[in-house]
């Protein structure tokens, strides 16, 4: 299969490993900040191939994992409102809120439907004109443009029964915050699909202000290993910069149209990240011009008080300070059938990937 086979080619992988081994002298910690990378790294068994002095740690890159309990509680509250249909990406329905999950509400009769795209949610809204259809918007610069396009679409179609509950976030504030908090990172494996939209500029402050390199990486093993090579080289030569490994998809300007759509529909606001707390201007709320599609405004509900889980160290895991197996809940109370923390829910979550592939 084109674009797959060549990027999983064992000979190329071995060549890259040889090159990495040749240049890597010092201990180095590289963080991936995308759940897709976390998953691919574990799925292909990449840690088992790297020399011991190279550590890969997972950062706050799984949209489900960084989503606040408050957001889940809000979605749960909405699902209990009469005639509301909740539409969502699949992983979210298992994320524990303070006292319930969407899955639990579904079993009690709430209308919660898994969709693969916001367009499916719009279709459901069209087919159910007497109901209110809410789409749960989670994710970063990758899922925010489709959500924005969905809202513009809803406006064009004059859909009165559709709204978005947004937990969309942008990545760079979190990457800066991690270093500000003192997390020792020598390089970022930056998410390629984010840069397909945003281009490279969003990462420029990271080498400039923090002396940490960023390589924008694709998601296949060859991509990841080449990115590791590039970051190790930057680190060994102390020449930190933003580089694109994922050249077949990323150009430095990004997707201007998608950026415009995002800027049109969303406005930046302070947002809460699991493990990092509130980060200024890191979230995307529905802009005032589109408030008729903002579930926060259109369907007022009372949201229960947030209760945090005791003993769960999701926060430290998301910051890359601890590995999943250092959590006392890992694999015992918290496992993929019964996730306690959000990092165990999504297959992109560090704990879930670790549990499935590496325990």
């Amino acid at each position: 299969m084109k674009y797959i086979d060549e990027f999983r080619n064992k000979d190329i992988v071995n060549l890259l490993l040889k090159n990495i081994n040749n240049i890597s002298k010092k201990d180095v910690v590289l963080m991936e900040v995308c759940g897709g990378h976390t998953w691919a790294i574990q799925k292909f068994g990449i840690p088992s191939l790297l020399p011991e002095n190279i550590s890969l740690v997972s950062g706050p890159g799984c949209p489900v994992c960084v989503t606040s309990k408050k957001f889940i509680d809000h979605a749960v509250a909405l699902s209990r409102v009469k005639d509301v249909i909740i539409t969502t990406y699949g992983d979210l329905i298992r994320v524990p809120g303070s006292t319930s999950t969407l899955n639990e509400e579904k079993s009690k009769g709430a209308d919660v439907r898994i969709v693969y795209s916001i367009l499916d949610a719009l279709k459901i809204a069209k087919e159910n004109s007497t109901k209110k259809v809410v789409f749960l918007g989670v994710g970063f610069e990758t899922t925010a443009p489709p959500s924005a396009a969905g809202i513009i679409n809803a406006k064009v179609q004059n859909l009165k029964n559709f709204s978005l509950l947004s937990s969309h976030k942008i990545m760079p504030p979190a990457m800066g915050a991690l270093i500000d908090e003192g997390v020792a990172i020598n390089g970022y494996i930056a998410p390629g699909h984010v840069s397909v939209i945003t281009g490279t500029e969003i990462y420029e402050p990271i080498p400039r202000n923090y002396g940490v390199g960023c390589v924008i990486s694709g998601f296949e093993p060859v991509d990841i290993l080449q990115s590791v090579y590039m970051l190790v080289k930057q680190f060994e030569t102390q020449d930190f910069k933003v580089e694109i490994q994922y050249k077949r998809a990323v150009n430095p300007e990004g997707n201007i149209k998608a950026q415009q759509v995002m800027n049109e529909v969303f406005s930046l606001r302070d947002d809460w990240w699991r493990g990092l707390g509130t980060l200024p201007l890191s979230g995307l709320g529905v802009a005032e011009n589109y408030s008729e599609f903002d579930a926060e405004i259109m369907i007022p509900v009372e949201v229960e008080e947030t209760k945090e889980e005791k003993g769960c160290i999701c926060g430290e895991i998301l910051k890359g300070l601890k590995k999943p197996n250092q959590c006392k809940l890992f694999g015992t109370v918290c496992n993929s059938s019964n996730p306690v923390g959000a990092c165990m829910v999504s297959h992109e979550g560090a704990c879930n990937a670790y549990y499935r592939f590496n325990r």
């Binding site: 064992k10 068994g45 693969y116 993929s336 592939f357 325990r359």
Partner: protein, 337 residues
């Protein structure tokens, strides 16, 4: 007979009688069923009997390469055959939603009859219930099956004799059924020619067993895919298993759809795939024999039982990395069989 199933068809009265006679007895035609007694009377002389039951609720009921009826017969036959038994008799109970098209029922029952004939089993007893609209989704089928099991094969279903050095074999490409179901639900608007692998494997299994090769374990890798079979095997026997990802056959169209949707083919359902554990010395012989059979053309030795990593199934990934194969936590796909 009317165009659609009515509540009366399940009442036990004349409508029921007509339905049974004109569809079930006619299609399943055999002297035991024709007696229409409360129980099928079976004359069995055997050391052991294998006995299985299963329910089928697949949605949609028609899908590329099969339907719920074919699935019911194949599933039951395979459950018996992988236990080392020779499948003989099947029961079939139908729970039908009021308003179900008679034509569809006839097609499904005819396919069941044809599949049973091919597999050399007879459908000897059955039941029909009709429920109000909305109380079931179109049609559910429950089956039970009986097979004769020779004493020498009684260890196969548990795999009690497996040991390090045994080879693990699969009879062809994985994940076809699950992905065919996804595609036929128009999931993601895919246009694909993926077909279910649904098939009765008792013929293939008989040839393998008749060869006298030392088969230690067989399991059909249905829901949960081959990952579930491998995990259960390693956990139950506290043995290590190593699988070479590059050796596991996956059709290109299935692989493409899995890549797009983020499914791991190891966890996707099959309906015509068996995982076999065979003594190391016999593996090549079994493999070449399997490759001569219609349902084993693409058979492959995918791994082996090892003495390290007790209780774990380890995957050597296609790039040469190592990781564990874990049992799936929940359903990747709802109602696939």
């Amino acid at each position: 007979m009317g165009k659609n199933i009515l509540l009366g068809h399940g009442s036990g009265g004349k409508l029921s009688h007509d339905l049974i006679k004109t569809i079930f007895v006619k299609q399943f035609e055999n002297p035991i069923l024709s007696q229409q007694t409360d129980s099928a009377i079976l004359n069995i002389k055997a050391e052991n009997i294998a006995f299985t039951t299963d329910s089928y609720v697949v949605d949609p009921i028609f899908f590329p390469g099969g339907n719920i009826g074919k699935l019911a017969v194949c599933g039951t036959v395979n459950d018996l055959a992988v236990s080392g038994a020779t499948p003989k008799y099947i029961s079939a109970a139908f729970i039908i939603e009021e308003g179900f098209p008679m034509k569809d029922l006839e097609t499904i029952v005819a396919d069941m009859a044809a599949e049973a004939k091919k597999a050399g089993v007879i459908i000897v007893t059955g039941d029909t219930k009709v429920v109000n609209k909305g109380q079931c989704d179109k049609l559910f089928i429950n089956t039970a099956g009986i097979g004769i099991l020779e004493e020498k094969y009684t260890g196969i279903s548990t795999g009690r004799d497996i040991k390090a050095g045994d080879k693990i074999i699969i009879n062809g490409s994985i994940a076809d059924h699950g992905m065919a179901i996804m595609a036929s639900r128009n999931f993601g608007n895919f246009q694909t020619d993926i077909k279910t692998d649904c098939a009765c494997l008792n013929g293939l299994i008989k040839e393998i067993l008749d060869s006298g090769c030392n088969v230690k374990f067989m399991r059909d890798a249905t829901r949960g895919g081959i990952a579930t079979v491998l995990c259960e095997l390693s956990e139950t026997h506290k043995t290590g298993i190593e699988i070479d990802e590059a050796k596991v056959p996956v059709n290109e169209n299935v692989r493409g759809m899995c890549e797009l949707l983020g499914f791991d083919p190891f966890y996707v359902a099959n309906e015509g795939k068996i995982v076999l554990v065979v003594a190391g010395d016999d593996a090549e012989k079994v493999l070449s024999l399997m490759k001569t059979h219609e349902f084993g053309k693409h058979s492959s030795i995918i791994g082996e039982v090892v003495s390290s990593n007790a209780g774990k199934a380890i995957l050597i990934t296609e790039i040469g990395g190592k990781r564990i194969i874990d049992i799936p936590a929940g359903e990747q796909l709802p109602r696939i069989c």
